[in-house]
Symmetry: C2
Subunit: 415 residues, 2 copies
């Protein structure tokens, strides 16, 4: 195994890791190798502290006065700006609210409203499914809308973009393979055809730097409970480029999107800015945990994050292929780190059982049907020795056939 | 002041109050009279305990495994059934998710889809405004939809219901006056015209018993952070009568509403039951606080709740009119307790300033533009002596003119 780093070399990588101190900002059970931060990010003392303050002092003691005094009402836009910095959005264009699915609905409606003479939505068959389901929902309320899918109607999304297209809805990082799109190039391609673009950043935000403003993106959505570590089901975000805000309308026109929400007017009048993409009252406790998690990012150098992410995923691929190459694993992610998000997937006919065996041994990744082992590498709290250890366990499970034990074949309801 | 109970009589009311022990289940600051539980319900040790367990153990230690192990994924339907019991809904018809505004959108779309040959939505000009804004949003996605308003197009909602009406959207308890509708009678009236009905229960759930199933209601929505004490911005609920579930469709067709959410299929297929009214991933931490709050209701007799609510509000009206009658207050709520929710409103030209002065003195109600003093009486934690004390303070503020101090006239952004 010449060229494969040994444990000494790997410990040196950890020692040289500028992000290593960030691990202390998170709560992780002793002995666990957590490679599922791309599904649910880890908790942090900062998130717990915000949650406790919001619950015990602000709710418990200050009660209704906290809407003003603790700034609850302003949290969605303030957190939006704070998050915006991580995805290249200048202030005033991002708001944290609702769910990714609902924000897809808003963005698609707004985009189609800006292109009233067009009726085609382009998306990917390989998209995280809820994006497609929401596009179907939008189509059900806009007669004549046509959905064109990469992987069904043409092999590549670029071929589907023409002057009938109102909007392109695309994942920046594919949830399954981790493959990365070129944001600036695809946005330019959409614009050249007169279309708008909605970027789904669920597997991007907090995983690698992107530049929404610099790429001239129109809309973006994403979740905050993966790489941003906002907590289970933490509210999602939506970005709308400044140049569209005055005209962009979305039909979830609730009171939090009103220009004067506390005037209790009879008719809707959209706020002039990003607040028009809000709808109703937000879950403050969940938002406050997210606030704690986002504060950690104030101290993160996004270039260092990206460099470490590529180094971790490169190392994982290298070690798996060197040590487990005989056991039928096939790399499903791009081999080129610059074309990959912060995750690595391998296909295996028995992926479900192998992942169950890994989890039982304290290496947590996840399974995606029908046959994908998916491993996420959060640069803030995953180290190089974690990668080493994960591959050691994987090799042992494959070599010994431990995954063949009957209990690993029983599928649970939620996977 | 013959006939007006004195402090001795009021202390006897507290002593005889069967719900008095419930107060110990809530956290309330010493010395505060909290008459704003109709805006934000009080916190509880039960809610804090659930929140701590969900954050520190389930998120912090068990991480992604909690979706199964801690039952996170099932919470919306389990809490829906638990809440359903309080509004007369048999299991399988209620789900806790998203916001009231978003659930209004789903319900209106579903109702109109069930009445495809009709295009009229009937609502109230005096509705909590977000219901009207969401109806506008629905209308913007369904060509030809007409909105008819009680208070604009006719004096009473009953007069607006004819065979062109697809759906009636109505508040069971008016947010401002506390006036109560007859659920069974208005539902019958709508059905006789072939229309469906959506009941907004924001100021009903946890304030008084209702019988959705027994009233033959079609849809209902409501929030959980008022009388149910679920915490700031806790997720809302939606009820869909069993007889409509197979046919009712709503366009926020996210993956949590899919029949097989973890099969990651390319096309949407709605779940057969109430889950089709879910959309995306829910804020688990906020849901868990709500779980703690709802557990308290397992020990509440809803008839006793209603009796105490009427007694509290009757007493408040009686004392205010007896002691503050000279200062220009006008009752805005029904005088008949059986026609009133669990709140009392008085109009006064200087309502904003008076409420600010009350809050400074530790009596918390709220102001609703342009001239309403609103007081909510949560039977679980408001006692008769609280009512007495609130009126004493109000009388003092009015008699001395303390509300005229300049600082009370400065309006804050959120009121």
């Amino acid at each position: 195994m010449s060229g494969i780093p040994d444990l000494v070399a790997i410990e040196a990588m950890d020692a040289a890791d500028v992000l290593r101190p960030m691990r202390e900002r998170f709560v992780l059970p002793e002995g666990l190798v957590y490679l599922d931060g791309n599904s649910l990010g880890a908790a942090s003392p900062a998130a717990f502290a915000e949650l406790t303050e919001a619950a015990r002092q602000e709710w418990g003691q200050d009660l209704i006065r906290s809407w003003n005094k603790a700034g609850w009402f302003e949290m969605p836009v303030e957190l939006g700006d704070q998050l915006g910095r991580l995805v290249g959005a200048a202030p005033g264009q991002t708001v944290v609210c609702d769910t990714t699915s609902i924000n897809v609905y808003k963005a698609l409606h707004a985009a189609m409203g800006l292109r009233p003479d067009r009726s085609v939505i382009v998306a990917e068959a390989g998209s995280f499914p809820t994006d497609l389901y929401m596009a179907e929902g939008v189509a059900s309320t806009r007669a004549g809308t046509v959905l064109r899918l990469e992987g069904v109607d043409a092999p590549s999304i670029e071929e589907l973009i023409d002057d009938s297209v109102a909007v392109v809805l695309v994942n920046h990082v594919n949830y399954k393979s981790g493959e990365l799109r070129d944001m600036a190039a695809l946005t330019k391609k959409a614009h050249e055809a007169g279309a708008l673009i909605v970027w789904d950043l669920c597997h991007t935000a907090g995983a690698l730097p992107v530049d929404l403003d610099g790429s001239n993106a129109d809309f973006a959505v994403g979740c905050t409970y993966k790489y941003l570590n906002g907590g289970p089901g933490a509210p999602a975000f939506i970005y709308v480029a400044n140049r569209h805000l005055a005209e962009a309308r979305q039909p979830l026109s609730g009171w939090w999107g009103h220009a004067r929400p506390f005037a209790f007017e009879q008719s809707y009048a959209a706020d002039a800015g990003i607040r028009r993409f809000q709808c109703g009252t937000q879950p403050i406790l969940s938002l406050r945990a997210l606030k704690g998690a986002l504060d950690i990012w104030n101290d993160v150098d996004m270039k260092a994050l990206r460099a470490k992410s590529i180094a971790l995923t490169d190392l994982f691929i290298q070690l798996v292929e060197a040590k487990c190459g005989a056991y039928g694993l096939t790399l499903e992610s791009p081999r080129d780190g610059t074309r990959r998000g912060s995750q690595v997937s391998f296909a295996h006919d028995n992926a479900y059982q192998i992942m169950q065996a890994l989890i039982e041994r304290g290496v947590i990744g996840d399974f995606r049907a029908p046959a994908t082992l998916r491993f996420g590498f959060t640069p803030l709290y995953v180290g190089f020795k974690d990668v080493w250890h994960a591959v050691e366990v994987l090799e042992d499970i494959l070599r010994t056939g431990a995954w063949k034990e009957a209990r690993f074949a029983v599928k649970s309801a939620v996977t």
